[in-house]
């Protein structure tokens, strides 16, 4: 469990980091190292160069303004989890991060790292998809913005080029009156979820108005459960509506059976988590 030989650089600017990545096509950015270092120790990956982003001040910090929570890529999970302004603007953030690993890991792991890593069962990518967030990335040709829907391609694969660095994550604040809920089921507290569901909805005159539901752990990337959303819009959020939303979610389950969950179980679990989160979100929306 020792990594293969690699070079290590720790530049102080994003530009220098991008240049360091461009100089070696096997180079990888190093953020909190909570995912990358284990894969190197298992020798599942062997980057020739690690570009440590830890000394780049520009990648740190949280700012809440104009209905958006802007999170520097190198912000640690725990910092965002406990940030008052961010959680006031979008209380889903704390609820989601509470499910990411354990506090010791959240003290090291970064928001940008988690999103760039793009594990299909990870919670933050699911949050980004559910809330319609975006990220900024910078590469040799300048910077660009990518919406959540275009970012996550496949398990552990994003639309970032090898030479690009994710610099900022933007999470929309929740409009007033939005009910929210995140719930997942993991074999052990803090593990990656067998399935997790993020639900946002509004209730107007006793009926569901806007609804956004996304799930992780059920396929190759986090997905919007559009049919489940459709099953709710315009309806009273009662047992029947919840059950229908759960049923509608089933078609999105594409994960193969693995050691912990067969397909039938994971599909039922997804439906159950949709029912549970819809109930909580509706209650919080005052419905």
């Amino acid at each position: 469990m020792k990594p293969a030989l690699f070079d290590y650089v720790a530049p102080e600017t994003v530009e220098a980091a991008v240049a360091a990545l461009a100089g070696d096509e096997t180079a990888r950015p190093l953020a909190g190292g909570q995912s990358l270092i284990p894969t190197m120790n298992f020798r599942l990956s062997a980057p020739g160069r690690l570009v440590d982003l830890r000394r780049i001040e520009a990648l740190r910090g949280i700012a809440v303004a104009d209905g958006t929570i802007r999170v520097g890529a190198m912000t640690r999970h725990r910092e965002l989890e406990t940030h008052e302004g961010a959680n006031r603007a979008n209380p889903l953030i704390g609820e989601v991060l509470d499910n990411v690993a354990h506090i010791a890991i959240r003290n090291r792991g970064t928001v940008g790292g988690s999103i760039a890593h793009a594990d299909s069962a990870a919670e933050l990518p699911c949050l980004l998809v559910a809330t319609g967030g975006t990220v900024s990335v910078q590469g040799p040709d300048g910077s660009r913005e990518i919406g959540a829907d275009d970012l996550f391609r496949f398990h552990m694969t994003t639309s970032l080029a090898q030479t690009e660095i994710l610099t900022e994550v933007r999470i929309p604040a929740l409009p007033p009156g939005t009910g929210y809920a995140f719930e997942e089921f993991a074999r052990r507290r803090g593990d990656y979820a067998l399935a997790g569901v993020c639900t946002l909805l509004t209730v107007e005159d006793g009926r569901c108005g806007e609804a956004r539901i996304a799930a992780c752990g059920i396929g190759a990337r986090p997905v919007r459960l559009a049919a489940a959303e459709d099953a709710l819009r315009g309806r009273a959020v009662d047992d029947a509506a919840r059950a229908d939303a759960g049923e509608a979610a089933r078609e999105y389950m594409t994960a193969p059976a693995d050691m912990q969950a067969g397909v039938a179980y994971r599909t039922d679990l997804l439906a159950a988590l949709v029912r549970r989160t819809v109930a909580t979100a509706a209650r919080r929306a005052g419905g």
């Binding site: 469990m1 030989l5 020798r43 089921f185 052990r188 507290r189 050691m259 969950a261 067969g262």
Partner: protein, 800 residues
């Protein structure tokens, strides 16, 4: 008399250093100039090795040596068959340190690289080219013994490693007389101990003195020394084996020899440089011993009132690719099968099966969790079929307090002796647990929860544990003349159980000193060279009594010497606070003074020693300074060899909520009543039981060493092998009973493995109870899992 330390919850002597990070595990031992070893391991479960090309590895800079079976000389042999038994087919298969011609499991060592550091050694491993010809495998235990199954070993037909039947009484007659019979099949899967510190070995060869020092994270230093002496043909007194702080063993480190244990010393001698090997987590999951997989088909012959007359159990035991530990685990399972129940007529058949997986040797519990799951599941079933309450049926079958010793003639335990329960109060334990849990109250709560669509269940499991096996251990007690501290040694090793504290308590009670003034040393063949090892919940019973006996003798010598010094009769001496006092007086002498005075001196180092020198005024003896037949100082050694195992027991119960939508569970309450005879230290007993319960919860619901159809291990890290976190293990309510053992002077029984034994049964039983309204099929497998719960619920729904 000082306050008695035996029975007190004395804080652990070892903890301050460990908690401050001052412990020394093998990787902490600095050996200047040490080389590091890493292994090339088989990628296939069963294959023929066509070729091994080490040239690229050898030519890497900083690689010092690459060994294969061809270059390890006399070590290229099948390793010792540790516990032979006549029922083992062809004497039994054991592995070679490095594979020759064939590999038998994925993870088996093929080559060893020694380099200047572990990084380089792993680099070199990755360029060793092994060409394999994969061979077919069968991992299913039942299919593996069928005709035509691919063999693990070409010369072992049907993969049967051993077959053995044990009988007590006349089971056929019992079944003929039965009013009701019940048969259940249960299956337990492979698991592993996963100690916090994996295996670790370091060795240093001193060519000048011809001495080999081996630091080994083992449970059995003395036995390892014996094995090394035999394999290397070196005199025992030239080999010193030390187990420093060891980060958990749980049986995995009683197994010897893991290949590293002999190859690392071998390389140190060959290369004349210290060599270290620190096994990593993946290697521990694929290359270190595992346990647990068994399939039992158990039948009970009963009367309508629930009295069990007879038991038949036929089980298959997965022994992995090799059987160095003989039939020990299966034998323990077969002898624990009747639990605390009278069941007079027993027939048990065991079939041990070779599978292309890493070898199976004891893991905490050692066959008992399997036996407990089988008998307890069967008893629950019998209760349900006869319409008797699950606790009541147990009550009707317990061996009564007046029936001890209770022998099961014909059933031979792991010590080769007939099962003979020495003492117990089984019914009282059951009463205590049902009262503590308030079963009647729970039933109401369960009813109310069901009305809200919530599923709570009550589960219960009883177990017995044969502990404290021979052959023997020793205890050595000495009072240091200068410091007056009491030096105690034994031949065991500790993996964190608290030996240093409980043994200090035992010695301190006799010698009359503070527990903190006992220096306890074990795990070093140079400190104590007679004994066996730490296993089978035997340390407290066997070494504890040996140390007690030695301390009793030391006490007599201290009193005799003190009486002489204080010019009074021995009856007027009492020992306390590290001194000998005249009863009802205020004159005393310290242990240091007594030890010094008992050791005639030429040189005076301090005031006390002046009185012991030859020309001191007090030196008024006539004969030689040391009388004929007398030994210097205060020093005694004694041994304890138990007549047979002593049987601890206990009962666990839990209230568990199961969630039908997520298929998860939450243990709301977990209770344990445990009886290990007189407790030396209830806090340490509790720690042992609690740790065992945690491991048992892992075994019941989380941990599984899964393999794919090709025999590739699927759970080789802590992401896939789900050792429970603190969040999955509830605080257990642990209550003690103390029924002394009549088999040893201290009246104690072992406790090390107890906690793990009944947990799977408790969870399974609670699951059935919770989901009874949904009509689920009986739970017959461990570990359970959300996926399994889902299957049970779906199947029940499809029947409705």
């Amino acid at each position: 008399m000082s306050t008695r330390q035996f029975g007190e919850p004395v804080q652990r002597n070892a903890d301050p250093a460990l908690l401050k990070g001052e412990g020394a595990f093998i990787d902490d031992i600095s050996l200047p100039g040490a080389l590091h070893a890493a292994f090339v391991r088989s990628e296939h479960a069963r294959a023929r090795i066509r070729s091994i090309d080490i040239s690229a590895a050898e030519s890497l800079p900083d690689v010092v040596a690459v060994y294969t079976a061809d270059t390890i000389g006399a070590l290229d042999v099948e390793l010792p068959m540790l516990i032979p038994h006549p029922c083992i087919t062809s004497g039994g298969k054991t592995q070679r340190p490095l594979a020759r011609d064939d590999v038998f499991y994925a993870g088996q060592c093929i080559a060893m690289v020694v380099a200047v550091d572990r990084y380089t050694a792993e680099d070199a491993c990755s360029v060793v080219e092994v060409a394999y010809e994969p061979l077919p495998v069968e991992l299913d235990l039942e299919k593996a013994i069928a005709d035509g199954a691919p063999p693990v070993h070409d010369d072992i037909p049907n993969n049967v490693a051993a077959h053995f039947v044990q009988e007590s009484g006349d089971a056929d007659a019992a079944f003929a007389a039965a009013e009701h019979t019940t048969t259940v099949r249960v299956r337990l899967e492979r698991s592993t101990a996963a100690p916090m510190e994996c295996r670790a070995v370091a060795a240093r060869w001193d060519g000048v003195s011809g001495e080999l020092t081996v630091w080994d994270s083992t449970q059995a230093t003395i036995s390892v020394r014996g094995g090394l002496a035999s394999l290397f043909d070196i005199d025992e007194d030239r080999i010193r084996v030390i187990a420093p702080n060891v980060g958990g063993g749980f049986g995995q480190k009683i197994m010897m020899f893991h290949p590293d244990e002999i190859l690392v010393p071998f390389a140190a001698m060959q290369l004349d440089r210290p060599v270290k090997y620190i096994e990593d987590r993946v290697e521990n999951f694929i290359g270190a011993s595992q346990e647990r997989a068994q399939i039992h088909e158990i039948s009970l012959a009963a009367k309508k009132d629930g009295t069990v007359l007879g038991l038949r159990d036929s089980f298959i035991h997965d022994t992995g690719a090799f059987i160095p530990y003989g039939i020990a685990i299966a034998q323990v399972a077969s002898t624990s099968i009747a639990g605390p129940y009278r069941i007079p007529d027993i027939w048990v058949e065991m079939t041990l099966v070779y599978t292309p997986c890493v070898q199976v040797t004891p893991y905490r519990g050692c066959g008992r969790p399997q036996a407990c799951f089988a008998i307890e599941r069967a008893l629950d079933r019998l209760a349900d079929e006869l319409g008797i309450d699950r606790t009541e049926i147990r009550r009707r079958n317990f061996i009564g307090p007046g029936e001890f010793p209770y022998e099961r003639e014909g059933l031979l335990f792991a010590d080769g002796l007939a099962v003979n329960y020495d003492s117990g109060e089984y019914e009282k334990a059951l009463d205590l647990i049902t009262e503590t849990v308030d079963l009647a109250g729970f039933r109401k709560e369960q009813e109310a929860a069901r009305a809200e669509g919530r599923y709570l269940g009550f589960g219960i499991g009883f177990y017995v544990e044969g502990t404290g096996l021979g052959p023997y251990e020793g205890g050595h007690v000495k009072v240091h003349p200068i410091t007056g501290k009491v030096y105690v040694t034994t031949g065991l090793t500790s993996q964190g159980q608290g030996h240093e504290t409980v043994f200090a308590q035992i010695a301190a009670d006799q010698v009359g000193c503070d527990v903190r003034d006992v220096i306890f040393v074990e795990g070093d063949t140079q400190a104590h060279e007679w004994g066996v090892a730490t296993f089978a919940s035997r340390a407290a019973v066997v070494s504890g009594n040996a140390i007690h006996k030695a301390a009793v003798k030391a006490r007599a010598r201290i009193i005799a010497a003190a009486a002489n010094m204080l010019e009074t009769g021995e009856d007027s001496i009492e020992l306390r606070d590290g001194r000998a006092w005249i009863v009802d007086g205020n004159r005393s002498v310290s242990l240091a003074e007594i030890a010094t005075a008992s050791n005639p001196l030429r040189y005076a180092f301090n005031e006390a020693s002046q009185t012991a020198t030859q020309f001191a005024p007090a030196s008024t003896h006539d004969g030689p300074p040391l009388a004929e037949g007398q030994a210097p100082g205060i020093e005694e050694t004694d041994y304890f060899s138990p007549s047979h195992a002593t049987w601890a027991y206990g009962v666990h119960a839990a209230i568990v909520e199961f969630f039908p939508d997520t298929c998860g569970m939450e243990i709301k309450r977990y209770l344990c009543i445990h009886d290990c005879g007189n407790m030396i230290n209830p806090m340490i007993v509790e720690g042992q039981v609690m740790g065992g319960i945690g491991q048992g919860i892992g075994g019941a619901f989380y941990e599984r060493c899964a393999f794919d159809g090709n025999g590739t291990p699927l759970a080789a890290n802590f992401m896939d092998f789900l050792m429970p976190y603190a969040t999955e293990v509830p605080d257990a309510e642990i209550l003690h009973m103390e029924t002394p053992s009549p088999l040893n002077p201290l009246g104690i029984k072992g406790v090390g493995e107890a906690g793990t034994i009944p947990v799977s049964q408790v969870v399974a039983s609670a699951m059935e109870d919770a989901f009874a309204p949904l009509g689920i099929a009986p739970v017959r497998e461990s570990p359970m899992s959300p996926d399994m719960i889902h299957g049970l619920l779906a199947e029940a729904q499809s029947r409705r």
